[in-house]
């Protein structure tokens, strides 16, 4: 077998050295009745070519050749081949967590750069080395706020990604954390008027997303003031961080949770992605996840090490800030490489293209009779439109012309049936936008 580097004679030499006749003797400590007598009924073994064939066949059963207008937390963006060329280097791909700093300086330096980029983008003072994804980063950010304020009530906007709210609920259930949802106004933003002194009493965190699930930007400075006045922290989450190329960063937030998938990580049917938490320096000891810190060796050379490990499970065990161990290091590296390729101006230019294409698509779609803008607040690359028919029906018809239609909001918001969330990024050619508009128009014109 090509992954096993021993010849049969070498195996025999080694068994002789140990002093046993066969390898079966090395499994004697397993009670006999539990030792399998026949091989497992697994498919295979397959050669490399057969493995490729299997997966190519699976790929052909998916969405190749379709154009998609889905966003809703996962975004199609341009990525350079340089990224894969670098992360496929064995020294990055196949290396371990950098606990032994002296010969993991490659990984540690890159983590330090990632932490810096995330801080710069979010306007926060420090960032960690990654969480699993945006949904768990948000959950951990809320738990962090709970520890910092010692308050066990959380207010969360309904316009935060529905699956993110579900994850928070799963974690919060057994931790005595009370979660209350706050609605939105016709602008699509959090209803500030409901943040009364009474509602905020005993609240540890006010949680919003910006751009939110409806694609609308939240007014963070005002929300921060309201939260702080009541002794609460403002926790904000970002699922589309390309927005940070032109949108003002959430510097007023106390803790920022972000999904970094948009930075060069393929959509890959849901994962792996890369979450991150950024916050103020004074909160760093309550932050979960690994941290790389700068230091020197005895000769004064600069180097980097994992630091503040006493927050983590391998030392603090049941008192740790989180149970996280393995994170998304390789994808943090992907994001780091992607962002350094993009640079300051590249990220800005991509963000501007997203804005322009989304506005173009929106204007064209709104020309169709019966199609109406829903929210009045400012949007980046996603927006919500109301349609005269069920979104599900429209999307079925779109699928027949190889278009993956927008996200039907009625799935998660019963009051928002016939409304869909459309995402347009820099990857969408104008011709495809026009094709989508024409197809939608045709569908809506045809008899029901």
């Amino acid at each position: 077998m090509r992954y096993l580097p021993k010849s049969q004679s070498e195996r025999e030499e080694m068994l002789a050295s140990i002093g046993v006749q066969s390898v079966d003797e090395l499994f004697q400590s397993i009670p006999e009745k539990f030792r399998l007598k026949t091989p497992l009924p697994l498919p295979g073994p397959l050669s490399e070519m057969e493995i490729i064939q299997y997966f190519q066949a699976r790929a052909a059963e998916n969405s190749q050749g379709y154009t998609s207008f889905l966003g809703a937390g996962v975004y199609q963006h341009l990525r350079s081949v340089v990224t894969d060329a670098l992360v496929q280097r064995g020294e990055f791909l196949t290396s371990y967590t950098p606990y032994q700093a002296e010969f993991a300086q490659g990984t540690l330096t890159a983590i330090f750069e990632f932490q810096t980029l995330m801080s710069q983008l979010t306007g926060q003072e420090v960032a960690n080395a990654s969480m699993y994804d945006g949904s768990t980063a948000l959950t951990e950010a809320v738990l962090m706020a709970e520890r910092l304020t010692d308050r066990h009530k959380v207010l969360i906007a309904r316009s935060v990604h529905p699956e993110y709210r579900q994850v928070l609920a799963t974690y919060a259930k057994n931790l005595g954390l009370e979660i209350e949802e706050i609605g939105y106004t016709p602008s699509g933003q959090l209803d500030r008027s409901s943040l009364t002194a009474e509602k905020l009493a005993g609240v540890g965190a006010v949680v919003v997303q910006s751009p939110n699930f409806f694609g609308v930007l939240e007014e963070l400075p005002g929300l921060a003031d309201a939260a702080h006045a009541a002794g609460a922290l403002l926790v904000t989450c970002i699922t589309e961080p390309v927005s940070l190329g032109i949108v003002r960063p959430p510097a007023e937030a106390d803790i920022v949770a972000m999904e970094g998938q948009a930075f060069g990580v393929s959509p890959s049917y849901g994962g792996p992605y890369v979450g991150v938490i950024a916050t103020r320096e004074k909160f760093v000891r309550q932050m979960p996840g690994r941290l790389a810190g700068q230091t020197t060796d005895a000769a004064g050379r600069r180097g980097f090490v994992l630091t503040l490990a006493t927050r983590e499970q391998h030392i603090r065990r049941e008192k740790a800030t989180s149970n996280i161990c393995t994170n998304e290091a390789l994808y943090a590296l992907v994001a780091t490489i992607h962002l350094t390729l993009m640079g300051k101006e590249g990220l800005r230019e991509v963000a501007l293209q997203n804005l322009a294409k989304a506005r173009f698509a929106q204007a064209e779609l709104e020309k169709i009779p019966g199609v109406r803008r829903v929210f009045s607040g400012p949007t980046f690359n996603e927006f919500v439109l109301e349609f005269p028919r069920s979104v599900k029906m429209i999307n079925s018809a779109l699928l027949r012309v190889k278009i993956v239609g927008p996200f039907a909001l009625g799935t998660h918001y019963p009051e928002l049936t016939k409304r869909a969330l459309i995402c347009v990024t820099e990857t969408m050619p104008r011709t495809e936008i026009e094709r989508f508009v024409a197809a939608t128009k045709k569908i809506l014109e045809s008899p029901v």
Binding site: R285, A309, T310, I315, K319
Partner: protein, 130 residues
């Protein structure tokens, strides 16, 4: 080495009593076991504690040590120097690296603690165990 007017606990805390106020810290033995101290966390001023309850933690790079209050009382002062210079615990554990001052709830509790001679004997025994 171990000031004669201090009292000591089995968990290696010391207390120096001055009327109704007790100053608490960790002993030289504790700091040498811990190694280089990087961070100290103590309860806020005003916290009420019963003898034996947690008085916070002292951290080295690879370990966290919980500190316990030798006696019951209310925290009246915490040591500001330790925030910027936690290494004082290694260099001056019995002096400038005090952790908190307590208003004693029951001064009689102090008499059940070890004196310097008893503590020195206690840690000598511990050294033999190693």
């Amino acid at each position: 080495m171990y000031p004669k007017d201090y009292r000591y606990t089995k968990e290696h805390e010391w207390i120096k009593v001055d009327g109704a106020i007790g100053t608490v810290g960790i002993t030289d033995y504790a700091q040498s076991e811990l190694g280089d101290v990087v961070f100290v966390e103590v309860p806020k001023v005003g916290t009420q504690l019963k003898g034996g309850q947690s008085l916070g933690t002292v951290e080295s790079v690879k370990a966290v040590s919980e500190i316990f209050t030798p006696v019951s009382g209310e925290v009246t002062e915490t040591n500001p120097a330790l925030h910027d210079a936690p290494e004082k615990i290694n260099s001056d554990p019995h002096g400038s690296a005090w952790l908190v001052k307590l208003r004693l709830a029951d001064p009689k509790e102090v008499s059940s603690l070890m004196d310097a001679a008893a503590y020195e004997a206690y840690i000598a025994d511990k050294a033999k165990e190693h």
